[in-house]
Point group: C2
Chain length 458, copies 2
């Protein structure tokens, strides 16, 4: 491996300059105004992968293109399918960014940009790991395939149909993903579980138009008032979710998991400081880590209705609405939960408002076998790349495609986290630590080496 590692060591500056170029493309998939930037980002990556020596196919979808790239074929060797995404979250509130979100400024050993940690930085690290093998040896000890989409941040609507329609193309032995994080700075992790998601929008209409609150107040149903009544019935006083049937399929946390979580270097006060809240708020009977990883949640993600500008406008709003999402754990099913949610909301809404409920987004929760040979290879690669054995964790976020890989392709996913929990994914001032970027490249190279010597029976 010395040749490969030397190449990585001596090309750090080049790698960083290339990463900056990638991060400067504002590929925000949620905003139609950035559609051309999203396409430009897909072209950048396709060109870059060809330049490294991979054969690249760009698949058009009704949404954003999907990239598929393969290293030169090595018969009888394992095949690794790497999944990542090149689209990024919106940047608002923009005024909280210390440098423009697509400037890719470097300060204090970090690179700041929307997408630096989620997920362009980690995707690019794997590209550089592959490059290091190809430039030094002209070949890899396995078949490495990049499978990179551009709609992860908006629900990956076209990914599942694509996977179902391309089973042969995507045939592999194991999936590799780096869209999770280290457990803590300097504590690398392999993630064996993810929460799922059910994300809905409820909107209520009362009057047909905004009404003068003086002339009409006291005689009409106010949709904002009814909305808050409905939303206030989602949790009881202890924070438990009151949707009937919500907890029916929740798996209890295994005792080995509770013990392992308790052994992790989790510092509640540091964690609290990271969020900026006055006090953590957790479910009765569970530790903060258990609440983040292995318990379901319900959160209001957005509220709107009536006048929200400066000063006072005396109206009774015609409409009010909320975006509400639930993080799910095995074996909850997003469609079932969305149906329970919808039935519950309808049961709470009075007859004098009209109700619209949209199911915006869903993903299944996931649990992996922590003792598979692929998992052992991943742990070894992280140990070598980061100089430290990884901990075994779950994550609270959702990567719905992991469930799809399992269901449709019968593939386990190895989730190696390069970024950090405080990188600010989805928040202003997202960053990636440059050390983590380089360690990620090393880990990628070691993972190729380890997986090249692994079989499902080893």
């Amino acid at each position: 491996m010395e040749d490969v590692l030397r190449y990585i060591e001596s090309h750090q500056e080049k790698f960083l300059a290339e990463l900056q170029e990638l991060l400067r493309i504002p590929s925000i998939s949620a905003d139609p105004a950035h559609r051309e930037d999203v396409l430009r980002c897909s072209r950048f990556l396709a060109d870059h992968l060809r330049g490294i020596g991979l054969s690249v196919e760009v698949f058009q979808t009704p949404g954003n293109p999907i990239l598929f790239a393969s290293t030169p074929m090595i018969p009888a060797a394992p095949t690794v399918l790497f999944y990542g995404h090149y689209d990024v979250q919106p940047v608002d509130p923009l005024d909280l960014w210390q440098s423009p979100p697509f400037a890719a400024d470097i300060r204090n050993g970090n690179i700041y940009a929307r997408g630096a940690s989620d997920d362009k930085g980690p995707v690019f690290a794997h590209m550089k790991g592959v490059e290091a093998f190809l430039r030094t040896r002209g070949t890899l000890p396995l078949n490495f395939r990049f499978f990179i989409e551009g709609e992860e941040e908006v629900g990956s609507a076209h990914l599942d149909p694509f996977i179902a329609a391309h089973r042969e193309l995507l045939r592999a032995d194991v999936v590799v993903i780096s869209d999770t994080t280290q457990f803590a700075p300097g504590v690398p992790a392999v993630t064996y579980g993810l929460r799922g998601l059910a994300y809905l929008e409820v909107s209520l209409q009362g009057p047909s138009h905004d009404l003068h609150s003086g002339s009409f107040g006291g005689t009409v149903p106010n949709p904002a008032g009814i909305l808050v009544d409905v939303l206030s019935r989602f949790k009881d006083e202890r924070g438990a979710i009151r949707i009937p049937g919500f907890y029916d399929k929740v798996l209890p946390i295994a005792s080995w998991e509770r013990e392992m979580y308790d052994s992790l270097p989790f510092h509640a006060e540091e964690y609290r400081a990271l969020t900026g809240v006055r006090k953590l708020r957790t479910e009765e009977g569970f530790t903060p880590l258990e609440c983040r990883w292995a318990r379901p949640t319900l959160d209001i993600n957005g509220l709107y209705g009536g006048y929200a500008g400066p000063g006072a406008k005396t109206i009774i709003p015609a409409r009010a609405g909320a975006k509400v999402s639930m993080r799910l754990v095995p074996d909850q099913d997003p469609e079932e939960i969305a149906a329970l949610f919808t039935r519950y909301v309808l049961s709470l809404c009075p007859q004098d408002v009209s109700v619209e409920i949209k199911n915006l987004h869903g993903g299944k929760p996931v649990l992996m076998d922590v003792n598979s040979p692929w998992m052992k290879a991943a742990r070894t690669a992280i140990s070598k790349g980061f100089g430290k054995a990884p901990v075994l964790t779950r994550e609270g976020g959702s990567i719905p495609v992991v469930a799809t890989f399992k269901e449709v392709l019968q593939l386990d996913s190895l989730m190696l986290g390069f970024g950090r929990p405080d990188d600010g994914a989805h928040s202003p001032n997202e960053k990636l630590c440059l050390d983590d970027f380089y360690r990620g490249i090393l880990t990628s190279a070691h993972l190729i080496d380890e997986l090249g010597r692994t079989t499902a029976e080893s």
Copy 2:
């Protein structure tokens, strides 16, 4: 009066063209971007009043200018102080307007514009009534003074201090205001009561920044969730307001009032259709008119927090807030109610969020003596101008300055409604019926005539 009435009859087209010119000035006081338009509107009116033959003073304030204009002095005659406002409400949602809000389009016998009914049209009608006297007789039988401000729609912050500082200038026998409406189309009204207002904003902060709802969900207080819990505690299941002490000073509705209200041609189904709600929602034990006019309310005017754009954004918002206003009835006091509201909200908020409560706007409720000689003159003027005796009503909206005139200048206000309840004040497609505009001018002329023969003892 024939000379005066003939002048009005023969100048209708000119009056309408002038009104259009006035309505085309977008004098939105809530929006700093329209500051120059607000100033332009005050100059337009000052020039117009001078052109009619009044002496005009323009008083600069820290906000928008106040206009004061006097007809030539008639010693020993009564003095009427006419109050109105030249500023208008914001126009959003703009896409619901059928013609641009400042085009002043004429369709189906109506003129459509923001401010047509509230309050430029009625103000202008009184200017034309005065003009008719001056052009035909060169004089009025009384002293008529216009007192027109430009901040009514944003709380009239500089009006009370101005009144307190100009008691001599504003000395009069009675105030006339046309910022109320007819009871129904073709049912003109003199209004003897107004509700007051307390308008506050509550905003809560949990995390210091928006957090990823997957990574952090289950461990932190969500300010949007807490906000809906707090807001849901404002009313009980019957719609009664739960703020302790809220009803303590509410005067019961007199039996003559209940009888009078019941005799009015109020059609609940027509009223419902006007609002577009599926079903009216009123306080138990009170009729819709009683609820609109003589019972206090609490309404959420606006909700905000987190992501309200298209699609799904998986965040736990850092902040969430609501604008909440209460319509008040005699003898509730806005400052006392704001204090009760604030104490109640603070008692409901948990310790893990920070709370900010702003008192944005307030006005006292008002009840007038319905048997004063001034009130009789007003009723006669309406009878002659509209060809129909007016009904006696209250209104649900607030005109805080009416309370100030009473308290500071010991003046009663005669509230003559020219516009209609369905004119859409504060809503898209605000209009004024052209017939009402002309009847308003006639009423103004008759009012001048009647009040010229009235004394406090007559």
